[in-house]
């Protein structure tokens, strides 16, 4: 039981929030998405998405670039290398928790 608890405690706290995890999951599947595409895909509000993105950016998991398309400003979000590594680690931890749980159920 202690091993399982330790695994859970090792989960990245920044990613262990469903909104941020959803953002990182979606960005992990593509090269990049505009802010609008990301918002529409996840059904989040602008404010909610901005807050989560800011936190992910501060940690260096997400990079945003701002440019003008015609006269309209467009923000593109992409997962950084550190973000991909953190996401990969997070998935590994979840897998380990599942495996550990199955092992305990069999025992």
């Amino acid at each position: 039981m202690n091993a399982l608890k330790r695994l859970v405690e090792e989960l990245d706290p920044l990613l262990h929030e469903r909104g941020r995890l959803a953002i990182v999951s979606v960005l992990a599947a593509v090269e990049g998405l505009t802010f609008t595409e990301l918002r529409d895909t996840l059904g989040m509000t602008d404010g909610n998405l901005s807050v989560h993105l800011q936190k992910l950016e501060e940690k260096g998991y997400v990079a945003t670039t701002k440019q003008f398309v015609g006269r309209r400003p467009q923000t593109t979000c992409r997962l950084t290398r550190a973000g991909r590594q953190a996401f990969s680690r997070y998935l590994d931890h979840l897998e380990a928790i599942v495996q550990r749980g199955r092992g305990q159920a069999r025992a």
């Binding site: 399982l4 859970v8 989960l11 469903r18 909104g19 995890l21 959803a22 999951s25 979606v26 992990a28 599947a29 593509v30 998405l33 595409e37 529409d40 895909t41 996840l42 059904g43 989040m44 998935l91 979840l94 897998e95 928790i97 599942v98 550990r100 749980g101 199955r102 305990q104 159920a105």
Partner: protein, 202 residues
């Protein structure tokens, strides 16, 4: 977090990643509608003459228009239900991938009708359809990829069998084929609804 919750989170992540990259133009109900229309189109030739280009073009033109309408309607309704934009990034990519096949089918239809050889068209349409389905394979779920391969093969078979089999093959491939695909997609949609991911995450 226990093992059950971890497994569910992994499933949610997988579905989210698939949702971002996958796009299915044909909905289950649109597939069933298209199959029914194609089946009815094939049966209409019990009374109509397939050698008559007006009959042949009229029936299959109507089936194509009806299927297109059902697809558009199905896509709009699904997008509304999910609260997603209709003309999304994936939708644009899929339509772009389909465009060359649709263009080829259009040009070849004119070519064969102009030469009075329209009964060869079913095989050509199937080849274009299969190619189009495979062109979207980067975005499409597995049943669509399998459909593309099967229809490509059946297109070749239809050309080999010749004009005498054109109506029968249209009924089998676009009629029964779409009904079978629609049933498979319906089962997949029910499984997806059972997961109910998306909203619970965002």
């Amino acid at each position: 977090m226990d093992a059950r919750e971890a497994a569910r989170t992994l499933e949610v992540i997988r579905t989210l990643m698939e949702r971002t990259t996958q796009y299915q133009l044909l909905t289950a109900r649109a597939g069933l509608a298209a199959g029914s229309m194609a089946g009815a189109g094939a049966l209409a030739f019990l009374a109509l003459d397939p050698d008559n280009p007006w009959h042949f073009g009229g029936v299959w033109g109507a089936v194509f228009a009806g299927s297109l309408l059902a697809t558009c309607l199905g896509t709009v309704l699904r997008s509304r239900r999910r609260g997603e934009p209709v003309w999304s990034r994936q939708a644009r990519a899929v339509v772009l991938a389909l465009a060359p096949s649709l263009f080829a089918a259009f040009v070849l239809s004119i070519f064969f009708f102009a030469r009075g050889q329209h009964l060869w068209l079913p095989g050509v349409w199937m080849l274009c359809y299969g190619q189009g389905a495979l062109a979207t394979s980067a975005y499409a779920p597995a049943p669509i990829r399998r459909l593309g391969i099967v229809v490509l093969g059946l297109g070749g078979l239809t050309l080999w069998l010749g004009p005498a089999w054109s109506v029968v093959m249209m009924g089998l491939v676009f009629g029964l084929g779409h009904i079978a695909l629609g049933a498979a997609l319906l089962a997949a949609e029910r499984r997806e609804n059972a997961i109910r991911l998306h909203r619970s995450v965002a």
